[in-house]
């Protein structure tokens, strides 16, 4: 079943995909640095009248929960925040871009978080984000 991105159903399916990702489970095992938020910037042309975030409560290689939130204030307490416009997340979900390369190119921006920690966990960070490619997705602009 396909889920609309972003939505609560998509977020829940993303959490399931993270937990089904063997690479993430292995490389993320030592991760004890808190939740990660992936935020889609607001885009009124797509009906996104506010920033939309998916907060993943990841800990020791497991996603313990995920929530869909609206507005940057809602991710203020999240230790790691990655922000990108809708088109970029669409490329990530389709597996068209590598998230680490996209960060180097400024296509995904880590607006909050400790970069040295993220680099120490570069393989788990990549696996976390690319878990999204396993979620059957319908996009707002299609």
């Amino acid at each position: 079943m396909s889920h609309s991105f972003p939505s609560e159903a998509w977020t829940a399916a993303f959490a399931d995909a993270v937990n089904a990702n063997e690479v993430y489970r292995t490389h993320g095992k030592p991760w004890t640095h808190g939740a990660v938020a992936m935020v889609c910037s607001k885009d009124e042309s797509l009906g996104l009248d506010d920033d939309v975030g998916m907060i993943l409560d990841v800990h020791e290689g497991v996603c313990r929960g995920a929530s869909l939130v609206r507005g940057m204030d809602a991710v203020a307490e999240t230790p790691f925040v990655i922000v990108a416009p809708y088109a970029r997340w669409k490329q990530v979900i389709r597996g068209e871009v590598d998230p680490i390369k996209a960060m180097m190119e400024g296509k995904l921006k880590m607006t909050k978080g400790h970069l040295p920690t993220m680099l120490r966990f570069v393989e788990s960070s990549r696996a976390l984000v690319t878990s999204a490619t396993a979620v059957p997705t319908t996009f707002l602009d299609e």
Binding site: I100, K101, M104, E105, L115, P116, L119, R120
Partner: protein
């Protein structure tokens, strides 16, 4: 003197430049014992990310670092490598006594091997060896 890391005007639009600046700032906050190393560094190193067509130049001036978009001035050394290798170079293990790359480390060995194969090229290494080794130390998050 307290180290200072600045982005040169225009560099804020280069995602890799902002990452390198963030990495330096947060890395020095986390490991203040690296600050004396930075205080001894003078010269320019250009980092060329071959697969993404990105270039940043780090201008070191005794505790101050300015991160430029593209080539800025004549670099003392130029490191050419793919985004994968640039990421890995920040994970090179350092031996504890002098903070030099530890040849026993798994990532350090991979990087040495990549250098031998020409996948990582350092132009000007002989003339700027201390600068390049010190840069490896201050950028490493391992």
């Amino acid at each position: 003197m307290e180290p200072a890391v600045h982005l040169a005007p225009g560099a804020e639009n280069n995602g890799y430049a902002t990452m390198v600046a963030q990495l330096l700032r947060q890395g020095l906050d986390e490991r203040p014992e690296k600050k004396p190393t930075l205080a001894r560094m003078t010269g320019r190193v250009a980092l060329v990310v071959t697969d993404l067509g990105l270039v940043v130049t780090l201008a070191f001036d005794r505790g101050h670092v300015t991160v430029h978009d593209g080539f800025a001035g004549i670099p003392d050394a130029t490191v050419r490598a793919s985004s994968e290798w640039h990421t890995k170079m920040s994970l090179v293990e350092l031996e504890p006594r002098f903070g030099l790359p530890d040849p026993r480390g798994a990532v350090a060995r991979e990087v040495f091997e990549a250098s031998r194969k020409g996948e990582i090229q350092v132009h000007g290494l002989l003339g700027a060896l201390p600068l390049v080794l010190r840069m490896t130390k201050v950028l490493s998050v391992a």
